[in-house]
């Protein structure tokens, strides 16, 4: 008899096991009053069934619930309960939690006790889906919304930007929050390892903006980064002069707008003000001429002709001088031979 009961228990599908939980938690208006506020305890079972955890039962994670209905509040659970090295359930273990530990979010949570996101704030609780799932909170197109839950101002700015526009128009490579800030190891810009540290900004933008394929799709010139690296700003930055302008100094960051937009800091009408942030005398003159100049390319205009002139001139002069030297040496050698004979 005992054996039969055990067999019966094991033959139950997870759904059957969860039925008892859902008697209460499946009701939309189920909840309790906590600190004078209504707290919903409803769980969308559909969400759970479609999540990556659909094979598991409620009590797999809420493992301190032994009797249903439970009389006490179950303890808070955490992803690392299963996702740790050597777990028996087979939960995938990756380097993300380790990376997260260094992030501003983890540090804020630890040091200041401030509100800062833990895994489930971004990945969801019962509705955890893979990043390639379009309904996932961490699906690329949904990331601005996910981060925007807390970073509202930044999200609003971003939603005006060309990057957001590109994303909405189907350019999937368009940058979202995580492309620049990274995902788990988000570091403050003061940290030299941060992707947003002045030393690294160029490299961060370059990942896409020096990629011919991506830039071709969007019609954005691809050689801007290369030109920047050859400019005084680029060289100064390369050798550690961090006050030198990097991409974001002129283009802004969350609300990046094309130069055609009158609100953009790189709109010709606004350039004087933008350059004026560092160069106090900057006037309308700064708008007269190309900004990212590659002297060796025709697009550089007059600078290209200066470059070409010097190229030819230097070649001709040096060649002439070398010929003069060689003739001199040949003459000396010949006269010596004659004298020797």
């Amino acid at each position: 008899m005992k054996f039969l009961i055990i067999l019966f228990l094991f033959s139950q599908t997870p759904e059957d096991q969860n039925r008892r939980c859902l008697l209460c938690h499946g009701k939309k208006d189920f909840g309790i009053m906590e600190k004078g506020e209504f707290k919903s305890l409803y769980v969308s079972y559909k969400d759970l069934k479609q999540s990556v955890h659909h094979k598991f039962t409620c009590v797999t994670c809420h493992d301190d619930v032994r009797v249903i209905p439970h009389l006490i509040k179950p303890r808070k659970i955490h992803c690392l309960q299963c996702h740790f090295e050597g777990n028996v359930i087979g939960a995938p273990v990756r380097e993300m939690p380790e990376k997260y530990k260094e992030s501003v979010h983890a540090r804020a949570k630890k040091e200041k006790g401030k509100k800062a996101p833990d895994c489930y704030d971004c990945h969801g609780i019962h509705n955890v889906r893979g990043p390639e799932d379009t309904l996932s909170t961490v699906y690329k197109e949904n990331i601005p919304e996910t981060c925007g839950q807390c970073h509202k101002k930044e999200r609003d700015g971003y939603e005006n930007s060309v990057h957001y526009k590109g994303l909405k128009e189907g350019v999937f490579e368009s940058a979202v929050c995580t492309d620049c800030h990274r995902e788990h190891d988000i570091l403050p810009p003061e940290d030299p390892r941060s992707t947003l540290n002045p030393r690294n900004v160029v490299h961060t933008c370059e990942k896409c903006h020096a990629d011919v394929k991506i830039m071709k799709k969007t019609g954005v010139p691809v050689k801007q980064v290369e030109a920047f690296k050859e400019s005084f700003h680029g060289i100064a930055l390369e050798f550690g002069v961090l006050k030198a302008a990097n991409c974001t100094s002129c283009h802004g960051y969350h609300e990046i707008l094309p130069s055609t937009d009158p609100r953009s800091p790189i709109n010709p009408a606004n350039l004087a003000k933008t350059c004026g942030k560092c160069h106090p005398n900057a006037s309308q003159n700064v708008a007269k001429g190309k900004i990212h100049v590659i002297p060796g390319e025709k697009e550089a205009g007059i600078v290209y002709y200066v470059y070409t002139f010097f190229k030819i001139f230097t070649f001709a002069v040096i060649l002439g001088l070398i010929i003069h030297i060689i003739l001199d040496l040949i003459g000396r050698f010949r006269r010596k031979e004659i004298a020797g004979e």
Partner: protein, 286 residues
């Protein structure tokens, strides 16, 4: 020859007696040859020493002319120092991607230190150019030298003849006056370089001021011209000027005239025959 043989024979016999052996004929001949060679080598060494001594004495006795006044020598010295500082601190910016450029900035203490040094070099260069302008306008010596440095038709003729001379088409070396066309080229090349480098460099140095009054593309041109002319000037100095002043077999390793001001009578007659004749004529008049 006979005597030599006797000496060698003597030596061999002495050794034979001491060692109480008799050497075979073949070995005897071989040893004799070796002894001869040794003698010859020693003679050569002594001869060379004597020749060197003679040369030194000759140099001491030689007559000298003053080719460059102290003023010119100082101008050249400061110009050289300024230009070298500028090249050393400037090229790593142009070739910033090269490993040696990165190493240079590391050694010197950062790009900001290099930047200050570059401006010190620039200041020296500007001072020298002003100094030279004052020299050629307001001093009698300067005016005379400037007139000597003006290009003439003779320079073109000298150039053509010199090329012919190099090629062996004529045995006649062109007779130069106080300044050969080579020296004149060096002098006037500096004018071209100065105008471009000081002009564009000033714009780059005081870019904050010039951003207010010049359109941006002028500043871009200044940057490009500064960078390109820097390379041209560096190559001209390293290849051309250093060949003529250092690596030319005639003066190798170093022509000290621009630093000492002195030139030997021998070199004067060879390199500046017309000037030599002129000086001699004036001397004889007196």
């Amino acid at each position: 020859m006979q005597e030599n043989n006797n000496i060698e024979e003597k030596i061999l016999r002495e050794i034979e007696e001491e060692e109480e052996v008799v050497l075979e004929r073949k070995i005897r001949e071989k040893i004799k040859k070796e002894i001869k060679e040794k003698y010859r080598k020693e003679f050569k060494k002594i001869r060379k020493k004597i020749e060197k001594k003679k040369k030194k004495e000759k140099k001491k006795k030689e007559e000298y002319f003053v080719r460059f006044s102290l003023n010119i020598r100082l101008q050249h010295f400061f110009l050289a120092v300024g230009v070298l500082i500028l090249i050393i601190t400037g090229l790593p910016i142009k070739f910033h991607e090269a490993a040696w450029a990165k190493l240079f900035f590391k050694i010197i203490g950062g790009i900001q230190v290099s930047r200050i040094l570059h401006r010190i070099g620039a200041t020296i260069l500007i001072i020298v150019s002003v100094w030279h302008m004052v020299y050629i306008v307001f001093t009698k010596e300067g005016r005379r030298e400037f007139i000597e440095l003006l290009p003439r038709l003779k320079d073109v003729k000298d150039f053509i003849q010199n090329i012919k001379y190099f090629l062996g088409l004529t045995k006649e070396k062109p007779k130069f006056g106080r300044f050969s066309y080579i020296e004149k080229f060096d002098y006037w090349a500096v004018y071209w370089g100065m105008v471009i480098m000081v002009g564009s460099g000033t714009i780059l140095w005081f870019h904050n001021f010039f951003l207010g009054i010049l359109p941006k593309f002028i500043i871009d041109i200044a940057k490009e011209a500064h960078s390109d002319e820097a390379l041209l000037a560096t190559l001209a100095i390293v290849i051309w000027h250093w060949y003529n002043a250092h690596f030319n077999p005639e003066v190798f390793p170093f022509n000290p005239t621009i630093f000492t001001g002195k030139i030997s009578k021998e070199r004067m007659m060879k390199e500046h025959p017309l000037e030599y004749e002129k000086i001699m004529k004036e001397k004889n008049k007196k």
